[in-house]
Subunit: 474 residues, 2 copies
């Protein structure tokens, strides 16, 4: 056995404790430990160590190893742990593991150990033909659940929910509820409530587990039932689901079909994921990269997507260049205009970005709707006016101070005032409009708003300058 070898080896290094290890995002130290065990083929030790780790930490580790080493480690895990790791790992690796490493039987073994929602999530990433082969290895009961979940669009309550919940009829007793709970408790560790339905299976309310513990077995559940969880229709968009959870502080919520029948439950950890995803999407899309791009995404794919975006911006940049081109003679008469004109366009861009960020975020949070669009527009336009006056005056004075030309200062003052009002208006209306025609405002707004502020900025500044020159003021 290995113990003989250990007798002559130096005393073993202190084993990192998995719990301490998990708090350490750098991982350098226990990654080394895992690799050592792997290379020295101390398999039993390695399996023990891996089993003590959280799935998300294993996933994080696999993302940082080369594929061959990661594969060896992954295959050492039991199917339940494999499923959890696949759920946490990044998309590219998940695809490769599911398609290249695992046989359909292997995937089926994993699915059986997963909650129905996570099983469905995994299947969603596999080719449809392979899916039916995989499902043929899955017991009937699980197959029915997963197939139902796959029938809902991914970004809806139906796509988020799980089928593992406890439901009892309102005229049944606490004792009956506890019996149902006993059965489900073996299958799922995410039971936070017992749901109550009527004879037709329609959702009526829920019973908190602490109330269930404290009630007498003969009590009817309807007596300890509470009503404040809002049942969520199965086709509700995931962003709206997230808004319910944050607005009402839900930990879990029942999902119902058109007839009001209870069909699933959503827990807050799925909502957390949605909220982070949506925020990532918004931030990255506002910056002009795909919502799905990760630090580890294939380089050429990312590059291509970004070029698409830059290309669009390039087209609008040529539009601005054409506007400037109209004023070549004006610039030739007064070349300092060329140095000053980016100030007007740039300040417009900055002010537009301010309105836009506020508006896009409040649309996402559900705080900006038809009811308060007009008020928001007035607010932003007024801020644009005030800021246009201040920034315009400041710039005008600075230009006067540097050049000694009062009229030039006046021209840039007027152009900035005009452009900052344009910026505030466009920064508000463009995202609102995009949202109304069902385009994500985070994607299209910045390019449209910047085009506005660039074109209007150049046009206003050079146009006013042209007028001033033609009246002999400059």
């Amino acid at each position: 056995m290995e113990s003989e070898e250990l007798n002559i080896a130096p005393p073993p290094e202190p084993q990192p404790d998995p719990e301490t290890v998990s708090r350490n995002r750098h991982e350098a130290e226990w990654k080394e430990h895992v690799l050592t065990l792997l290379r020295e083929e101390r398999t039993a030790e390695l399996v023990g160590f891996l089993n003590d780790l959280y799935a998300s930490d294993v996933a994080h580790l696999l993302e940082r190893l080369d594929f061959h080493e990661g594969r060896r480690i992954f295959l050492l895990l039991d199917p339940e742990h494999q499923g959890e790791v696949l759920h946490e790992i990044e998309d590219n690796l998940r695809e490769r593991y599911l398609e290249d490493i695992l046989e359909p039987e292997g995937v089926a073994k994993i699915l059986v150990e997963q909650a129905s929602d996570e099983a469905a999530d995994l299947l969603e990433e596999i080719d449809i033909e392979v899916v039916s082969e995989i499902l043929s290895h899955v017991p009937h009961e699980d197959r029915v659940k997963v197939t139902e979940l796959l029938s809902y669009p991914e970004n809806t309550a139906g796509g988020m929910m799980a089928k593992e919940f406890v439901a009892v009829r309102d005229d049944e007793t606490v004792k009956k509820a506890i019996n149902s709970l006993r059965k489900m408790s073996k299958e799922s560790d995410e039971i936070h409530n017992v749901y109550v339905v009527d004879k037709l299976g329609r959702y009526k309310g829920h019973v908190r587990l602490d109330k269930l513990i404290l009630a007498r077995p003969q009590t009817k559940v309807k007596r300890i039932m509470e009503g404040e969880l809002l049942p969520i229709p199965v086709l509700t968009d995931q962003e709206e689901v997230a808004q319910y959870f944050t607005r009402y502080d839900f930990i879990t919520a029942p999902v119902i079909d058109e007839a009001g029948a209870l069909v699933g439950r959503i827990t807050v950890d799925d909502v957390l994921e949605v909220i982070e995803e949506e925020a990532t999407e918004d931030i990255q899309r506002m910056g002009g990269v795909s919502g799905e791009e990760k630090l580890t995404s294939p380089l050429l794919r990312s590059s291509l997507q970004r070029i698409g975006w830059l290309g669009l911006n390039l087209a609008t940049a040529f539009l601005s260049a054409a506007v400037i081109g109209l004023f070549e003679t004006t610039i030739n008469q007064k070349v300092i205009l060329a140095a000053l004109m980016p100030i007007v366009a740039g300040m417009g861009g900055n002010a537009g970005a301010q309105s836009m960020a506020l508006v896009i975020r409040n649309i996402a949070l559900g705080e900006l709707s038809q009811g308060n669009t007009a008020r928001t527009l007035r607010r932003e336009a007024l801020i644009g006016l005030i800021n246009g006056l201040s920034i315009g005056a400041l710039t005008g004075l600075a230009v006067f101070a540097f050049t000694g030309e009062l009229a030039l200062g006046g021209v840039i003052f007027l152009a900035l005032l005009f452009n900052l009002v344009v910026a505030a208006t466009a920064g508000t209306l463009v995202p609102v409009f995009l949202r109304r025609i069902n385009i994500d405002p985070a994607i299209g707004s910045s390019i449209l708003v910047t085009t506005c502020t660039d074109v209007m900025g150049f046009l206003a500044f050079l146009g006013f300058a042209y007028l001033a020159i033609s009246h002999g003021m400059i």
Copy 2:
């Protein structure tokens, strides 16, 4: 009584059902209903209707009424509901309600009905002298809890946690645990676990409520205890707390002090709030508005904050203007340069924003750390190179096609190639650097990166053009 009046009145309109009402974000219809009840002084009906509403919906309503009407409605609520509404309502109104409407005794009545964490949150917004007066009206036990919570910095685990949790010793029985649960269950509806501690009060593990229900009363809790909840040190930053919850899918987590003693619990609904707040902060700060600005923030305050940001940008815009000013003669020789130069600066700005958005988001998610900064920089620089080559070539060809001047196309190609690599590098390094010196990268990055791409863009394009002109190529 009112029923007499109703006999001659038209049949009452169908009452909106509070549950249906809550799903409707526009609220127009039930807002009218509430206002009608208020104006007709049908107080009992109004109180009944309000009590059926969710606190967050009442808060939303109050935000949309004028202050005087909102005040009347608020004072009709019982102290528990008042507290919940204050927790959900926007900051400005909360301040006014707490300071102008409620006497210290009124606030004390509210505090007693709140969970300790929410009570502490309310007190955090009140003047310190008033706080001690309020606390003198609060029973000793609650006062001790709240005072302890107030002693932790707001943005830490200690500032997020509540003192309402159930803890039993590991050698105690399930029966004892249920008795402790019974006591706490009256105080709090947020009990999802029973925590287990050793004789010294140090956190050992937790028992799920479903396990507690299913276990026999004589069983020792250590036999059904689980270990996978990571205890969170009390001074952990709230962003890190949020990362724990999302990474490990926690619903609740124990908080421990330096000695490992259990001192509180955090539930996921508080984490949801933190995650949304942090995302809002990042999105708005990236756009150049304060992370705290709301659609309803006082206009002049918002305007002033935004002017500050625009002023900084103005200073850097003058820097770019100065760079352009260096090349006045060059532009005078070839005025089309003035039309083309914003393209180079603008595309650099766009490309910089792409790298920046990806990097800032991944820093916030904890995905970008010292371990993978170098790899990320290489990836971004390479994308910058590829995109610089493509966008540069595309632009160069377009310029050649429009102007017939090959050398001019070459100049803009080189300038774009150079500037897009600068953009990718600055877009990666600036946020990483700001984070390392503990400045939020969402605040400072965009101005620094844009300054880089503007200055470098103008310098490269006009510099190359100068060289080409002086060699007689243009």
